[in-house]
Symmetry: C2
Subunit: 269 residues, 2 copies
């Protein structure tokens, strides 16, 4: 099997990365994908940089043992903290979601005020902020961590008064800052996009980093001549470190299709 | 150092067990305590029984290496799933929070209708239900998992309209069931007690399993002649598997005092 036929590896701390995989499938419908979710140790967003880096190294190693041709770090928290280390340790191309999201935001903003929402670890890393400033130092950035958004999305409470009241709570400072663009800096947040849009107003441009990442993966594979040139049905495999019904239950909402077979990654972490 | 002077070990998946430690300190002010929080892999409540058991075994082993005279499994999820296995593997007395909470509830209920709120894994285990039925088969039990309560408590959103609206959401079925007693089956929930009481009404008896557990630990140590008989200042040590400011920030709210020194448990999990 040549490199072109090798699968893309997608790594996430849990289930959220399925929204990025969904975007990848849309952009690259002939590519096979191996998804790895570290569901035993999820979430990463409340944890320290050292732990996030360690977990990320172990997870990406698992994917590389399965001969993926590139790795997409779907997890924003991991992308924010671990990407430089991952790139130092491993030779395959590794793409995070921060850079693509930042580029899309800089392109989209008219008034040069961009908001970022994400986990505590992502916000604390200032990774989006730095990526944006690097692209355009004139852009002003406002960040807000939203720890309740992940459980809201997983509970399916993506509309209604409970959800709206939580979004109101977190979006106060964003509203005051007159941003015109908001990066959904966590894989779960696209599920809340409609209600966030309702609260912040239709004029705010929402950036789904995952969607932009998929486009960049296409560019990378094309540039490196690694796009799969077969037009047969691709294969999708799913590995998790904790096996529970959660993954299968939520897959239809996150991936847009039901995952019937999830394999337990056998390792001792 | 004799067994009497040995510390009590408290194990929790993260920070929540500090509410149980707080109750222990109140009941047993002369006992030294070693607290172990598996903050790198927290939460357990969304994970599978196999993973919960594995993590619990490793965590309790860590405490036993530090010569604790007994282990309090402060985590409801771990108590619900791992207690029998822990007791099979280890010789020291191991006390969970389920049995104490169940006993307190059976004692408190007048109309024999008890509600239980907890994590998904705790509710799914039916551990409280079985413990209650064992004590009094006539008691009717209604359970509800409340995945948003832990992040609410950690965010400090324990009052106000966001909090009330989420509690309303989860307590619908409990209200309909005309319970007169509710077990707070997760270490974080005592922080929400005032608002839960407000939503459910003052007539509902709230059971804090942790508080009852502290009383039972006293009974156990007394019965086994293991109570510390020195009247000097006890020592408290705190170990975590992930070191971040979270623990220190939240300790005042959960433990009622600021923890200045937290040690990183050095292991490779």
């Amino acid at each position: 099997m040549g490199v072109k036929d090798s699968p893309i590896g997608v790594f996430d701390s849990g289930i959220g990365g399925l929204t990025v995989m969904r975007a990848l499938i849309k952009v690259l419908p002939y590519e096979s994908i191996i998804y790895f979710g570290d569901t035993a140790r999820v979430p990463y967003g409340t944890k320290s940089p050292a732990t996030i880096v360690r977990f990320s190294l172990e997870s990406v190693e698992f994917l590389l043992e399965r001969d993926v041709k590139c790795v997409v770090v779907a997890c924003n928290t991991s992308s924010a903290h671990a990407l430089p280390v991952l790139r130092k340790y491993f030779k395959v191309p590794i793409i995070g979601v921060i850079q693509p999201g930042a580029m899309a935001a800089v392109k989209a903003t008219k008034n040069k005020r961009v908001g970022i929402i994400g986990t505590q670890a992502t916000v604390r890393s200032k990774a989006y902020e730095e990526a944006i400033k690097h692209l355009d130092p004139a852009v002003r950035v406002v960040s807000q961590s939203c720890p309740l958004f992940v459980p809201l999305a997983e509970e399916g409470m993506t509309r209604g008064k409970e959800c709206e009241s939580i979004i109101q709570h977190y979006c106060k400072s964003l509203k005051r800052s007159a941003i015109d663009t908001l990066i959904l800096g966590c894989t779960h947040y696209p599920l809340l996009a409609a209600t966030i849009q309702k609260i912040l107003g239709r004029s705010i441009h929402l950036i789904d980093s995952g969607r932009q990442t998929a486009v960049d993966v296409q560019g990378l594979l094309m540039g490196m001549d690694m796009l799969c040139d077969k037009r047969s049905k691709p294969s999708y495999r799913f590995y998790v470190t904790d096996e529970n019904e959660h993954f299968q239950t939520l897959s239809s909402r996150f991936l847009g299709r039901v995952v019937n077979k999830v394999e337990l990654a056998k390792w001792n972490r």
